[in-house]
């Protein structure tokens, strides 16, 4: 069980996921700066979203903490960037890797689930006026998630 983050980094580096990057912070190997590209055919297409990921002391028994830094209009992501995702909560298993977590987040962008909302207003908007909501999401992506 030695050198956890190093192995993770190795894995992330050797087995990169398209559209996802994760780089450990220089001072703290448990803190990662993450980018996720918006999945194609989703309102987030062409956006690059910044996230932060932190491995708590009890990791891997406890799930990593992940948060969007980029503003995003999504029914399962609130204004603070917190993410409602089962594998980050109750369905966490120590067998899950960082890359699986990040992949799950990418998948969440592809298929928002307004029936299990975290951001209530967004979810309502999504349910009542899906097109309008998607348009807002696109607009936010264009405005906030500009790729550099």
């Amino acid at each position: 069980m030695a050198s956890l983050p190093k192995r993770i980094i190795k894995r992330l580096v050797s087995d990169p996921v398209p559209g996802i990057t994760a780089e450990p912070h220089e001072d703290n190997l448990r803190y990662f700066q993450v980018t996720i590209e918006g999945p194609q055919q989703s309102p987030y297409e062409n956006g690059v979203f910044h996230l932060e990921l932190f491995l708590p002391d009890d990791y891997p028994m406890e799930a990593p903490k992940v948060r969007f830094l980029t503003k995003i209009y999504h029914p399962n992501i609130d204004r603070l960037g917190r993410i409602c995702l089962d594998v980050l909560k109750t369905n966490w298993s120590p067998a899950l890797q960082i890359r699986t977590v990040l992949l799950s987040i990418q998948a969440l962008l592809a298929s928002p689930n307004p029936n299990d909302p975290l951001a209530n207003d967004v979810a309502e908007d999504w349910i009542q006026n899906e097109d309008g909501a998607i348009a807002t999401a696109r607009e936010w992506t264009k405005r906030y998630a500009k790729p550099n």
Binding site: M1, A2, R7, R11, L29, S93, A95
Partner: protein, 1130 residues
């Protein structure tokens, strides 16, 4: 006597009382009655009569006062007893009043009005008193106090004795030999009162004798000129005396110039005489006389209530109970104390108790504070050792230390001269001496007789005088304490570089220069001079002849573990190729004496161990059995060294050990003790140091006992501490890391130290086993407490406690008998403990849970998945992504056939259980049963699946591993120290860490008492070499690593288990946190939650505040032990 005459007298006696009762109606006209009729005793009497009877006895008493006195004595049935009680109460009050007057035992004539009364009447009334011709030897005398003596008439008188008439004190015994008065122990044989008579000076007729307590003071002193007594008739009821009547006499006491002159030999009780005295054990007549004289002086000072003045702390004056006693060297039996105390007034018990209560409880600290001579050391000049000799650079305070040490060796020319080089031995008063203030002259004569001239006072002006009541010596000048021995105690706190400091001293003064000079002179003058030239250094030596003097060798005695460290330090520090260091250990040197005294270049430093010294001493002793004299033919005891240094000098603190005795017997001109902890357990630890340094006179056991140990026993801490600090102040130098130099900078700027407690939770197994042992222990303790014989079962309880502590560490410890466990040292374990029994009893249930069928199903399932052994060898743990899981005994399968590292799955199970979350397989999310786990075992060449036995899985070890892994991931090249007090725990740690960390990740070293000197050195050397790629872990047992080691290469330490004594734990941490440490130090202490370890922390806390049993006597210690056990189990 008529009423007019009694008027001034009344004032003289009773003024205070009157003032006290001024609220009452005082009928002065009644109080003036003097010489009323004593009612015939046979008359039936009422209370009224009693009153008047009292007033007959005490004529100045008012009626109401007499009634009050009687009221106090109502309990007495017998009438005459009641009256006599009342009278005695009155006089007691009286004398207390007198004593309560501050400082000088002033009597009560204070108001000018009264004085003028005297002036008119007195001179006339009492006429002139014969001015005694002073004896020719007496140049002056001075009043020191008076005593009211109730004397007993021995002859009837024709007339009442006149008030104020002079009585002479005559000793009837002058022909008696002292041996009749005293027996061999200096105790008196007969009543001294028989010999002291009062004689009416005018009629030259004996009138009475004084009571025993006064006679004891007067008799031994009266024949000498140094104290003079004057007796004055005060009160005899104004009637003629019959035999047996009592009358009151005022005894004025004067000290004369004789006392302050140089004493004739017989008084001069110097230490040399004492030695012979205590050895022969027979008291000569002179000695008996002198002893009686000293006791008498002591009693005298008590009677007149002379209070010594404490210069340093003037505000303490009143609290300071002067408990001086005559010190009886050699045979200080209890009777003797009784005798002395019969003279001294009963010590005021309550006062002393409150005094000791208000003392700072942490007495070790206060001792240290007393020995921290901040001011004097802060301004010491710095001596820089010559660069030709000394290769290292000393720190500022070390240079000051060198100055101090050079001064202590009287090498003033080499020490940097300060602005005041002699100020160092600054005027410290000899602690055996007390300072006294001359009281105002209140003698009868001086008060009443104006013709009594003042000429005496002029002869001796000065407000103070000094007295050594222990020896009966007096002086007008302040007796200055001088230390004559060369050497001292360097008691700098650990980590301040005592070794370096002493090496700088040795390299600066490697040999006895005086001796070399003088022996050169000697050679030059040898032909024309007689052989009486003896060097001064040899004079100070014992019976050694000149040939045996190793004048250029310093012997350093160190604990074995530090031998090589000293050697290394020496190599580092030495730059002078002529100076060599030899190790005297084993059979390294065959003819030591020749090497040291006959060769042209003897080694400047001879390093040896306490063991060697002790061994050689025992051998010498054995060889010379019968003669009781060391033969001193060869070896350490055959020469006198130039200098001896004992490192970790507290090793000899118990002077009854062989090692201690052996070290004491080493001969040397200069003696040094190095220790960071001069006191380990008790104040008496210091005595060994004093004895080793040969500090006279305190190295006499009798002195130490009566000045330090005894006051300490009776809880007069202040006195004991004052004494200790006066004794040690001149010879001890102690600096702490926290001290600041003259510029206000800390002596040592060490990096920060952070000590964290990491609480660890028991896992299920441990919890069960712990509860099992806790129940057993608790019932045993409760039983003991209930019966009150807890301590008789102490060792049983210690075993119980040990078990609990072992469970906290690792269940595997339970089976082992650990030789390093201090608690059970030397005690027989009640029974070898059978771990399996307890475990199987406890775990039958849980193991049975994994029934055969499920087990076989699981095996089939797994075998189906991984049919080949090679597949088992390349399993990946999906939790930590270890790939493959190594070694294979770490593999644990769930029932659903998924493989994990043992640590990962146990971590997971414990984590989920502690959060009360479901136990699902991390891989497939099916529920798993924590008891249905399988592990892989090698059986021959094949791999087998078996039930996983988690009984020896330790949460604490796990916590350590987690920490180490995290450390390793942060920076791989760290060095860490892991401390434990169980050496078998270190074995387990070695095993488990080894199986957890690959060789590439970490290197594990272990140092415990089982290693030889050579192995130790290798281990420490290898550990100190930094390896940027690997974590280096040193497993260190407290016993082996507690002292001296320098582990500053590591900046992290883990304490696996708490120790009883917090100071030992601190000491261990200081191995890492000491000079040379570059980084911040982080220490993590693992403590099991809700376990005995948490309670041990509380006991540590308590020890920190109370000080470690330093102040405790046996009872107190017992009580504390019971308290502690109670704390453990409440």
């Amino acid at each position: 006597m008529n009423p007019q005459e009694s008027s001034p007298k009344k004032r003289f006696f009773f003024e205070d009382l009157e003032e006290d009762l001024s609220g009452k109606a005082l009928r002065n006209e009644e109080s003036l009655l003097f010489g009323g009729h004593r009612p015939a005793p046979e008359n039936p009497v009422s209370e009224k009569d009693e009153v008047s009877e009292i007033r007959d006895v005490i004529p100045d008493l008012s009626h109401s006062q007499a009634e009050m006195l009687l009221l106090k004595c109502e309990s007495c049935a017998d009438r005459s007893e009641r009256i006599s009680n009342a009278v005695s109460i009155y006089f007691e009050n009286q004398s207390q009043k007198e004593r309560s007057v501050p400082e000088a035992n002033m009597p009560l004539i204070t108001s000018p009005k009264v004085n003028s009364n005297f002036g008119v009447t007195k001179k006339k009334d009492y006429g002139t008193r014969l001015t005694k011709k002073p004896k020719p030897s007496v140049q002056w005398r001075r009043f020191i106090g008076s005593i009211q003596v109730s004397a007993l008439a021995t002859r009837p008188t024709v007339q009442p004795l006149k008030y104020g008439c002079e009585l002479q004190i005559v000793c009837a015994h002058s022909e008696e030999s002292a041996s009749r008065l005293f027996n061999g122990n200096g105790r008196k044989r007969t009543s001294m009162a028989n010999f002291v008579r009062l004689v009416d000076a005018e009629r030259n007729r004996e009138v009475g004798r004084v009571p025993e307590n006064v006679a004891r003071i007067v008799l031994p002193l009266i024949d000498f000129d140094d104290v003079e007594f004057e007796a004055t008739m005060i009160f005899c009821d104004n009637k003629r005396l019959s035999v047996g009547d009592s009358f009151v006499v005022q005894l004025d006491i004067f000290l004369t110039s004789v006392l302050f002159e140089k004493k004739p030999k017989s008084y001069n009780y110097d230490s040399r005489e004492k030695i012979s005295y205590s050895q022969s054990n027979v008291e000569s007549e002179d000695e008996a006389r002198s002893r009686a004289r000293r006791i008498a002086l002591l009693g005298l000072f008590d009677e007149v209530n002379m209070v010594s003045i404490d210069d340093s702390t003037s505000e303490d004056n009143e609290v300071f109970e002067d408990q001086t006693q005559v010190i009886d060297l050699g045979n200080y039996d209890d009777d003797n104390d009784n005798e002395t105390s019969s003279i001294t007034p009963e010590p005021k018990q309550e006062d002393q108790l409150t005094e000791s209560d208000t003392l700072n409880l942490n007495q070790l600290k206060s001792i240290y504070r007393a020995t921290l001579s901040t001011d004097s050391t802060r301004f010491l000049p710095e001596t820089t050792p010559s660069e030709d000799d000394f290769a290292l650079t000393l720190r500022k305070y070390q240079k000051q230390g060198l100055t101090w040490m050079l001064r202590k060796e009287r090498e003033f020319d080499l020490a940097a001269a300060g602005d005041s080089s002699n100020q160092f031995d600054e005027a410290k008063m000899n602690p055996l001496w007390k300072k006294f203030k001359w009281p105002k002259d209140l003698a009868w004569g001086a008060q009443r007789l104006l013709n009594n001239l003042q000429e005496q006072q002029n002869a001796c002006n000065g407000a103070f005088f000094y007295a050594n009541l222990h020896t009966g010596e007096f002086s007008k000048e302040k007796p200055i304490l001088k230390s004559v021995k060369r050497g001292g105690i360097l008691a700098d706190e650990m980590g301040l570089g005592k070794t370096i400091s002493v090496l700088s001293l040795i390299l600066t003064v490697p040999s006895d220069r005086e001796f070399i000079n003088q022996s050169q002179n000697f050679v030059a003058e040898a032909r024309n001079s007689d052989s009486s030239i003896i060097t001064s250094s040899l004079q100070s030596s014992t019976e050694m002849s000149k040939e045996d003097y190793a004048f250029a060798t310093t012997l350093i005695v160190v604990p074995m573990s530090l031998l090589s460290q000293w050697q290394q330090e020496f190599e580092k520090a030495n730059r002078n190729s002529n100076i060599k260091c030899e190790v005297y250990y084993g059979n390294s040197i065959t003819n030591l004496k020749t090497l040291l005294t006959k060769t042209t270049q003897p080694p400047s430093i001879l390093l040896t161990t306490y063991g060697t010294v002790q061994h050689e001493w025992s051998k010498e002793l054995g060889r010379s059995r019968g003669t009781r004299e060391l033969t001193r033919t060869n070896g350490l005891f055959s020469v006198e060294f130039f200098r001896i240094v004992i490192d970790e000098g507290h090793t000899i603190r118990n002077r009854s050990t062989r090692t201690s005795k052996a070290v004491m017997d080493l001969a040397a001109c200069r003696r040094w003790i190095l220790t960071g902890t001069p006191i380990i357990n008790k104040l008496d630890d210091l005595y060994s140091a004093v004895k080793f340094l040969r500090l006279e006179p305190w190295s006499q056991a009798g002195y130490w006992k009566s000045l330090v140990s005894d006051p300490f026993e009776v809880k007069q801490y202040k006195q004991a501490f004052d004494m200790v600090s006066t004794i040690l102040d001149p010879v001890i130098l102690r600096r702490t890391k926290l001290m600041r130099d003259a510029d206000g900078k800390k002596l040592v700027e060490l990096p920060n130290k952070e000590v964290l407690i990491e609480k660890v939770k028991f896992n299920r197994n441990e919890d069960e086993v712990y509860k099992f042992f806790l129940n057993r222990a608790e019932s045993s303790v409760m039983e003991g407490l209930a019966r009150g014989d807890l301590l008789r079962k102490y060792s049983t309880i210690l075993v119980h406690i040990l078990r609990l502590r072992q469970v906290c560490c690792h269940l595997d410890l339970l089976g082992s008998k650990d030789e390093n466990d201090a608690d059970l040292n030397g005690k027989q374990l009640c029974q070898p403990f059978d771990l399996k029994n307890v475990l199987s009893r406890n775990f039958k249930e849980s193991t049975r849970n994994f029934d055969e069928r499920s087990f076989q199903n699981a095996v089939v399932h797994i075998r189906h998945k991984y049919s080949d052994d090679s597949e088992l060898k390349s399993l990946e743990c999906s939790v930590c992504t270890a790939d493959p899981i190594e070694p294979i005994n770490q593999i644990v399968f769930t029932e659903c056939g998924h493989a994990f590292c043992q640590n990962c799955i146990m971590d997971f199970i414990n984590f989920q259980t502690s959060r009360k979350q479901d136990l699902k397989c991390p891989n497939c999310r099916t529920f798993i049963n924590p008891h249905h786990l399988l592990s892989v075992a090698e059986s021959g060449s094949k791999l087998d699946l078996k039930r996983f036995d988690d009984s020896s899985y330790s949460s604490k070890v796990q916590a350590l591993m987690k920490n180490l892994s995290r450390l390793q991931e942060a920076s791989s090249g760290e060095q860490v120290v892991v401390f434990s007090q169980f050496s078998s725990y270190l074995d387990i740690l070695e095993r488990e860490l080894g199986s957890n960390f690959g060789d590439k990740e970490a290197k594990i070293y272990k140092l415990d008492g089982r290693l030889s000197l050579k192995e130790r050195t290798t281990v420490l050397k290898n550990f100190a070499n930094k390896d940027p790629a690997r974590l280096k872990i040193l497993l260190l047992s407290l016993k082996a690593g507690g002292v001296g080691l320098n582990l500053t290469c590591a900046s992290r330490a883990y304490m696996m288990d708490p120790w009883w004594s917090p100071s030992l734990e601190d000491q261990a941490i200081d191995r890492v946190h000491r000079i040379g440490q570059q980084n911040d130090v982080k220490v993590i202490r693992f403590i099991m939650e809700n376990s005995i370890e948490e309670k041990m922390l509380r006991i540590q806390e308590r020890k920190r505040t109370l000080g470690e049993a330093v102040d405790a006597d046996e009872d107190e210690r017992k009580r504390r032990r019971v308290d502690e056990i109670r704390m453990l189990f409440e």
